[in-house]
């Protein structure tokens, strides 16, 4: 199987899975909004951590390596039960915006 053929297959698969991936970004966005307003509960925080973890795993697999790295940062921020520092709100907001923008662009061929 050539790289081109694999890339074509992956692009087709991405078209099918993009919505579920973007739904994970939405979970991170929602949790970040709740964090900003002081209403983030444990369940939403855990859901955001899971979504970021899954996103980190799948985004790079489709070639979105920078998005995968940002998802890891989000996962790390939401991990655990310690209070999340206020400075993380801005960082998480920026991550959510960048994730959304990057994942809207079709995957690049290697």
């Amino acid at each position: 199987m050539s790289a081109d053929a694999m890339s074509e297959k992956l692009t087709g698969l991405w078209a099918k899975t993009r919505d579920s991936v973007l739904a994970r970004v939405a979970v991170i966005e929602s949790a970040t909004d709740a964090l900003r307003t002081g209403t983030l509960d444990a369940d939403a925080r855990a859901a955001a951590e899971r979504a970021a973890h899954k996103l980190a795993g799948v985004a790079g697999t489709f070639g979105y390596w920078e998005a995968a790295e940002m998802a890891r940062e989000a996962e790390s921020a939401f991990e655990g039960t310690e209070p999340i520092p206020p400075m993380c709100v801005t960082q998480l907001s920026e991550i959510a915006v960048k994730l959304h923008a990057q994942l809207m662009v079709p995957p690049k061929s290697e």
């Binding site: 899975t17 579920s20 991936v21 980190a56 795993g57 799948v58 790079g60 697999t61 995968a68």
Partner: protein, 127 residues
Amino acid sequence: MTKTVLIVDDDDDIREVGQLALELGSEWSVLTANSGETALALAKSGKPDAILLDVMMPEMDGPTTLIQLRADPSTCDIPVVFLTARVRTTERSTLAALGVAGVLSKPFDPLKLPDQVAEVLGWVVAT
């Protein structure tokens, strides 16, 4: 003889990309399972030559699934490779110490996955 690999991951996207990568990048057959419980059943019935096992899964995680596989005489000898998005060295060492053939990272490059799997298992990839 064609090898059969069982991919276990609760994430639909990872299972699909993994299956695509292994089927197109090698001559292996691929089975998939979305949970540890399904994996145990498929390991018994499908007799795969190796299992790629996600670490973080709800209900039955990867290490627990591994223990169950090892406790069953019909599946105890199947080589297992962990797939993990955890990148900390200590966590990877802990996983490796559980007696698996190897630990591979997520995200993975689909073009390289067959070679990575073959390398940890000592297989030859026929393309």
